[in-house]
Symmetry: C2
Subunit: 406 residues, 2 copies
DNA sequence: ACCAATTTGTTCGCAGGAAGAACAAAACGC
DNA sequence: GCGTTTTGTTCTTCCTGCGAACAAATTGGT
């Protein structure tokens, strides 16, 4: 029961049904490939005639491909259809505080090249550096297919429509138009998105095929900060001012430790990697000295995990406390949005076996119903570059998304 | 960019464009009535021919009406169109812990009759009582129009599709099928919904006409408990297990006061009416004795407000603290979802002038961006029966909602 | 009083595309 | 080779958006 916005609606034309059915068919091919025309007709509940017509249109556009003959017990053998992905390339860019990652991949997420360099904070210089690398990658892998766009993920608020980065404290950017410059420098369409949202997009568009198409889930990223990408009704929630998903700065305790945002007791101040390290070292995080002390000692989150695994009881305790607070925050999300599942990404997942019990206990304590207490929490295994996969989704998703109508 | 669910999609047929445009037109009439065909054609950007055809269809169905001639500086005078609401009736039912409210109203929300009775907790008995009253109302106001359905609002989780009440602690119901029984007893279609969601629906469908069509907002109800109805992209969020919006049981402080849900420090335990009264009396809320003490003294939330207004400094302080915690919880919603606005309903609104400053201060302290800190918080004035209006929306909304497509 | 101008509302013909039936093609077993 | 079965194409029908032409209603100027 969606309300129609009388200021910003989209009329249906004669060709609207075709657009809709085209996208449905394309998504069915995507989820069930390899698949025959006759099978598609059965799944869609339409005649094979219509499928033929839609398929030939998609074939002409190069959206799908005919593959081998399939096998059938009786009758004519079907020709199988696939989505064309292998020779359609994307440049995925992940700008992080320390380093920037650039990956060349195809629409499926298969990695062709990956390079990283130290992040340049000056927007113009970053664009120049990126443009040079994109140019090199496009030239070097020209034979593998055509690059159809650049997907870029940044920490901070982004206005998807204009492509402007409204505010990124980590990079020190305010209302910067990187998209326009990068498009001009490379001649490729550029899509920019906020990092946790991109991770949610990666789950939505590149997650396991034929999954139950979870249309309601939350992706929580735990690294230096804590953020969340929220998906409701198959759509990402961006918020009115582009700042939705900032669960990281919801207070768990008004008297809690100081957070980098200036407030006290933020969820992030309990469960971010920095918080875990600070807890292990027995330091208070926020007073600037504490933070520098953490940095000086050169102990990172991964070191804490390693020590916990090799018998350091204090490290183990620090991690378990992180797990407990992680669970409390997740319980908040369960109560607020009751998603069908919550994905967790970031370095914590490497210690999941050490903290899972604490996480689940905390959720059970706080969940309102037994069903909610059982909400699946799915750690995304490390090393899958969820942000880069999100960047790929930024380019690939528009081809598969439902047409906007009404 | 909505993802198409390949398990549960809806094909477009030949008549899909018509359905879509029909609903757009109907909504335009609703928002701009009285309005002429030519004006609609201009607003929709289509020829007048198509408008004529759609309008005659809607006229034939009785969805809209032709009214007076309008006035124009030159040329033929237009005939104005209206949505037909006056003679289309709804029975709205609000089942609360103490009393049940039954209202007869038209589609516009104009009240024709309102009665209340003490809530019967036994489902079968309640249905019987309701059926008798509906029968009486329908008979008594037969001349005013035809009753097109019953909208029912209950405290607790509801499965909208099946109409079953999954769990209502307040009423002591678990997996009860009131809808089927009430439909059988009255012969009218029945829609059931959870209370905070219904309040959000009331805002969405019966809120001020031609408002900016806020498609992203949250309605927070503060009474005995604290709940929220969340609207994203023009759609209500129900959650995977029908328990979305339970912000009331997110902890503000793990060491805080006990909540009726059993946990500690819930937002509800700080800002519900009971919490305010308990704070005023200096009692701890949750231990069963405290709660009974509050009841025994016979002081309600309204009494605290009255005393605060007549110079009782302790009452004033208790309310202001409630305001502060209310603000902290609202800040959480702002950070999590960044809605375009937050509506607040319930008895607190009667003391809004006393607490507004505290609310706004708390939000400012916790919001991440200046824009988020300025998020409009709109108290709904008391006595407007938002839950009953939500019940009306349950019946009226399907006529205006966007058709589900793709 | 009549005519031009202007605006509203209706009708009609064209064309895009869903829907389904008829038809052609391919494979298998007898 | 021939019937059977399944796949894929083609063709006809009909719904409906879309634009153009037309009818109706009103005002103001001559």
């Amino acid at each position: 029961m969606r309300k129609i916005n009388t200021r910003d609606f989209k009329l249906a034309t004669r060709s609207t049904p075709r657009e809709i059915n085209r996208q449905i068919l394309l998504n069915l091919v995507r989820d069930h490939q390899p698949v025959s025309r006759a099978d598609l007709a059965r799944r869609m509940g339409v005649g094979r005639g219509m499928v033929t017509s839609l398929v030939s249109e998609l074939l002409a556009e190069g959206a799908i491909l005919e593959g081998d003959m399939g096998d059938a017990p009786r009758g004519r053998k079907p020709t199988m259809l696939h989505v064309r992905t292998r020779d359609r390339l994307v440049v995925a860019v992940d700008v992080r505080f320390t380093r920037t990652f650039v990956m060349l991949s195809d629409f499926d997420g298969t990695q062709l090249a990956l390079e990283t360099f130290e992040t340049v904070f000056e927007p113009a210089a970053l664009v120049e550096e990126l443009a040079a690398r994109v140019h090199r990658l496009v030239g070097g892998y020209g034979a593998a297919g055509a690059v159809e766009g650049i997907g870029m993920v940044v920490p901070g608020m982004v206005d998807r429509r204009t492509g402007r980065i409204l505010n990124s404290p980590q990079l020190g950017w305010r209302d910067v138009d990187v998209r326009g410059d990068l498009e001009a420098a490379t001649g490729l369409p550029v899509h920019i998105e906020n990092a946790p949202i991109a991770c949610a997009l990666a789950q939505m568009w590149l997650g396991q095929r034929g999954g139950d198409g979870a249309a309601d889930f939350v992706y929580v990223t735990v690294s230096d900060g804590v953020g969340a990408g929220v998906v409701v009704n198959g759509q990402v929630v961006r918020g009115h001012g582009h700042t939705a998903g900032e669960f990281g700065h919801v207070p768990l305790d008004p008297e809690g430790p100081y957070c980098l945002c200036g407030a006290r007791g933020c969820w992030e101040a309990y469960t971010s990697n920095l918080a875990t390290v600070a807890r292990y070292l027995g330091q208070d995080l926020a007073p600037e000295q504490g933070r520098r002390a953490v940095k000086r000692l050169g102990i990172g989150f991964d070191d804490v995990v390693t020590r916990a695994r090799t018998g350091d009881a204090r490290a183990r305790a620090a991690l378990q406390e992180t797990g407990r607070y992680l669970g409390l925050g997740l319980a908040m999300i369960v109560n607020a949005l009751n998603p069908s599942r919550i994905f967790v990404g970031g370095e914590v997942t490497s210690a999941w076996d050490l903290i899972e019990e604490q996480v689940r206990t905390a959720i059970s304590e706080r969940a309102l119903t037994p069903a909610a207490a059982r909400s699946p929490i799915i750690p995304e295994q490390a090393g899958t570059h969820p942000r880069l996969r999100g960047a790929i989704a930024l380019v690939a998703a528009p081809l598969f998304a439902a047409p906007q109508v009404a």
